[in-house]
Point group: C2
Chain length 561, copies 2
């Protein structure tokens, strides 16, 4: 057979007048043979690797001072040009000069507001490999070894979580009819997948009922005589769980929060009581009022506080009542790689399913999520087949996934694990946790600040409390007066956070948490939130962030005075 570059396409004559002519189009598909052309392509890659880098060095924080309004004004053209507008070289230099400086420098050590931070530079190489191979792991026919590798990587992380014995993994790692989990887009679809599986497992097919996947939510409730079906979730869980309840036809009001204790962890005695009260309501009347509890969800590394729910105790309760126990460890999961701190997630091995994000503490580029199941057969409940792919009995990975076409993200994770080992990852995890502790100490030392949530992993929340307000707040007993003072503090913290973000040197995020979560009628207050995952973020950097916040506050109060 001929090699591709000798081929001539049919009927090119009528296109010959176009700028985007057939010949030049073909060239973009044939990877180049001649050295000049190769050198040019490589030069572009050099610009990408180091040109974007120059921007990253010269900016910290949330970049250049251009208002959003001004920015939007320049992105309003909505017609696609019919003629080619730019060459690759121009596109790249435009991105370097106009896009990158107006993007957010998430790699800055001073960017400690969100769960997106610096990634090791080799991640860019690995992502480029995945793009160059362009495999689609939905099916073996478009991925072959990458499907096999994906199963292996899933088994590795499954083992990290559940730590079952070698024979279990030998049996399932490459088994074509069982699944230890799946890659997803991210934590949101991983959680959605877990709750989908749990829903379908609860309402499995049985005599006279084809299962909820076929018959729908209403059919399932009717068949079993349930009034409603619910999920019980930690009050501090990620909003994707509520969203999952909405998507799955459960109704997001049936994603019911379980109260937390003073440490912002799920209150297990309350969980227990809730389960019993839902069970009690069953059977009091002849047919209605029964509630199906499809799953309980605990969090390992809450988005806003970094807190880990008491997983071991929740597992006890779930096992007692035979309820599916899902752990959202999107953030905290990789802490299992650290010898020093893995114990913080004790009990996770007793879960039925676990979410972990690749693009968070595995330091992978956007986006990669994963979900794992203890029972290698439970994903059968979400299997879909088709005639052209994913045929019954095939090993196609797309049979039991929420998503369809997927890139070979397992290659990135597998390579990163080989390059760094668990010890390499542990260094980063440990640094994050220890730096956050040091930061908490620093906050407590300063008169101007109040630590709101103690760090369990590498997230904490705090707020700026000017001493004169702090003193009044301490003395206040009247509920209204406390709320008035907290309202003042809310305004101050919102303004400080915003001004710091606009100044563009550093960035913390803000959110709202209950200031005394276990008290009745407690109110929420605005807090500043720091997520410390970047190995370059040191206590010195964090002190500077606090210094700047104090300075901003002083300038505000000066203005007001």
């Amino acid at each position: 057979m001929e090699s591709p570059d000798q081929l001539k396409p049919i009927d090119i004559s009528k296109h010959s007048k176009l700028v985007a002519d057939w010949d030049s189009l073909q060239r973009i598909f044939i990877r180049p043979e001649d050295e000049d052309c190769k050198a040019t392509l490589l030069k572009y890659m050099e610009q990408i690797l180091f040109g974007l880098h120059e921007f990253l060095n010269s900016h910290v924080g949330v970049t250049e001072e251009i208002s959003l309004l001004n920015l939007t004004e320049t992105y309003k053209e909505t017609l696609i040009s019919s003629e080619p507008e730019k060459k690759l070289a121009d596109v790249i230099s435009d991105i370097i000069s106009s896009i990158a400086p107006r993007a957010v420098n998430v790699a800055s050590p001073y960017f400690v507001g969100h769960m997106t931070a610096a990634i090791p530079f080799f991640m860019v190489h690995l992502k480029a490999i995945v793009a160059a191979l362009n495999q689609n792991v939905i099916k073996l026919e478009t991925s072959k070894v990458l499907s096999v590798l994906e199963k292996q990587v899933l088994a590795k992380i499954h083992r990290l979580i559940f730590d079952l014995d070698e024979s279990f993994y030998q049996k399932h790692v490459q088994s074509t009819d069982t699944s230890l989990g799946s890659f997803t887009t991210g934590g949101t679809t991983a959680n959605l997948t877990a709750l989908w599986v749990a829903r379908n497992h609860f309402f499995s097919p049985c005599d006279g009922f084809e299962g909820i996947e076929t018959e729908g939510m209403a059919g399932a409730l009717n068949h079993h005589g349930f009034d409603k079906a619910i999920y019980l979730v930690s009050k501090r869980c990620h909003f994707s769980l509520k969203k999952a309840g909405g998507i799955l036809g459960v109704g997001n009001k049936h994603v019911i929060p379980v109260d937390v204790n003073a440490e912002y962890r799920m209150d297990v005695s309350k969980l227990s009581k809730m389960i019993k009260s839902f069970s009690k309501s069953a059977g009091t009347s002849g047919r209605k009022g029964k509630t199906a509890i499809m799953a309980v969800v605990g969090v390992a590394g809450a988005t806003e506080t970094g807190i880990v729910d008491p997983l071991y105790e929740i597992a006890d309760v779930c096992r007692e009542h035979s309820i599916h126990f899902h752990v959202d460890a999107a953030w905290g999961g990789p802490v299992l790689l650290s010898e020093a701190y893995a114990g913080k997630l004790a009990g996770i091995e007793r879960a039925d399913s676990v979410t972990i994000d690749g693009h968070k503490q595995f330091f992978m580029p956007m986006t990669c999520g994963m979900v794992f199941f203890r029972d290698p057969k439970i994903m059968d409940r979400i299997a879909y087949y088709s005639n052209y792919v994913n045929r019954q009995g095939s090993v196609d990975l797309g049979i039991k996934t929420l998503e369809g076409s997927r890139e070979a993200n397992s290659l990135i994770l597998d390579s990163a694990l080989k390059i760094m080992g668990t010890k390499g990852y542990a260094l980063m995890i440990d640094h994050g946790i220890e730096t956050t502790r040091a930061f908490a100490d620093e906050i407590k030392k300063r008169q101007m600040f109040e630590l709101v949530t103690e760090p369990e992993l590498n997230i904490l929340t705090y707020r700026l409390v000017p001493p004169h307000i702090g003193k009044l707040r301490e003395k206040a007993y009247d509920r209204k007066e406390i709320e008035r003072l907290d309202g003042l503090l809310d305004d101050i913290n919102i303004m400080v956070q915003r001004k710091q973000r606009e100044a563009g040197r550093s960035f913390v995020s803000r959110t709202r948490v209950n200031c005394a979560p276990c008290r009745e009628n407690d109110h929420e207050v605005v807090v500043l939130r720091a997520v410390i995952m970047n190995p370059m973020t040191t206590i010195r950097v964090l002190s500077e962030v606090l210094d700047e916040q104090e300075k901003i506050y002083k300038s505000i109060s000066h203005e007001e005075a």
Copy 2:
């Protein structure tokens, strides 16, 4: 403030004995300043760009002859090494020597079996840029200009589909409280999003009802006195639509196929009759038996046949009955870029929502999907807010999406549109459609083959029919005899497809289609399926594919004789 590379992390002493020591870890986060280091990193990128390329040149089809069983044997270790195993350089050369040759060469012109093919080489550069910037477009605070750009790109594709007037786009392109669509992982989640929105729109909040998203499927049916809620979909639609029905709690048996006519297009008169019969059942009894039709789904470029449903006529029916009309144009959408063939999608502009995949005929790397809505307010039905991001009133793009964290894929599509223009894309689209026509002619010319589905776009199905069986089949009137002969042909085609795939020189896929779709009790037959999107796939390549199939058949029948 200090620049990052002057910073020293805290407490490194205890890690000093590890191979993965703190210093070397830090180095992987600091992009290098010295020329040697830069040169090394660039060399790796050169290997990726051209080393993988060497493999691509030396293999066509589905790669090296290693059995799946042998392959799985080498990917069974499930313990993660605690020490780093390999340097980046070794990881890359391992991938080049061991992974790439066992992956599938989807870029080969002889790989015409699936919707994954060669992508322009600049796509690798663009993907590397996205990884290097590592923005998260879930929120403005981790993406800034990339959120703004995403809105612009969505508006461009919206305009390509719906072609509303300039004032509409000026109003909405950067509007913070309206959405023209969203990026998704792919067609599956785009379709899921569309059906989710349609479900929620149908069961919007009203007096005494908080909406289906809050109250769930059962609550929604109860409130409105419906017996069930359904989607009506083209019989040839992608299996993701059935899956969406399952996920959404509708029940996948309520995703009801509408029969197709002799050309495999949705039979609009049957659609009309179905809608009327579902409406009729309402109100006959006092309260039950009513059916809610939440959406009708047409296909523009069916996965297996490439057929486009009669979109204009379906839109008429949907408007008459005020039903949401979704078009799954995951495959066919980019045909709108071709002046010559855009007319094939006439009527798509009358849809309420449209799915288009980026990683299919926009030639983007895995993975990128998109979904668009005519009504810029309808996505409000799936809005979720949170305290730490996606606050009410913010412009965060994660408020109205199925997925959470997302990479900035809009930058890739935007750049590609600038590099190629609509004319560049049109060249590829036209080539695909015209080459597929020529291929159909070639199949018809050959005695050994039968064209099963005529190409409308760039997909066709055919089967190998040895003349001696073909003659019997033509004469056969008895149903059992026809089925017996088709059974023989099924076996032959399955074997030929498998042997050709295993030989590794070229690849067509196989599926099953009804051989006379509009007849009652028609049966399915196995067909070979060709998807022609690679600009390097010429009629000459395709003739060789047929030659090889004939040769394989002859060797089989020789063996059997």
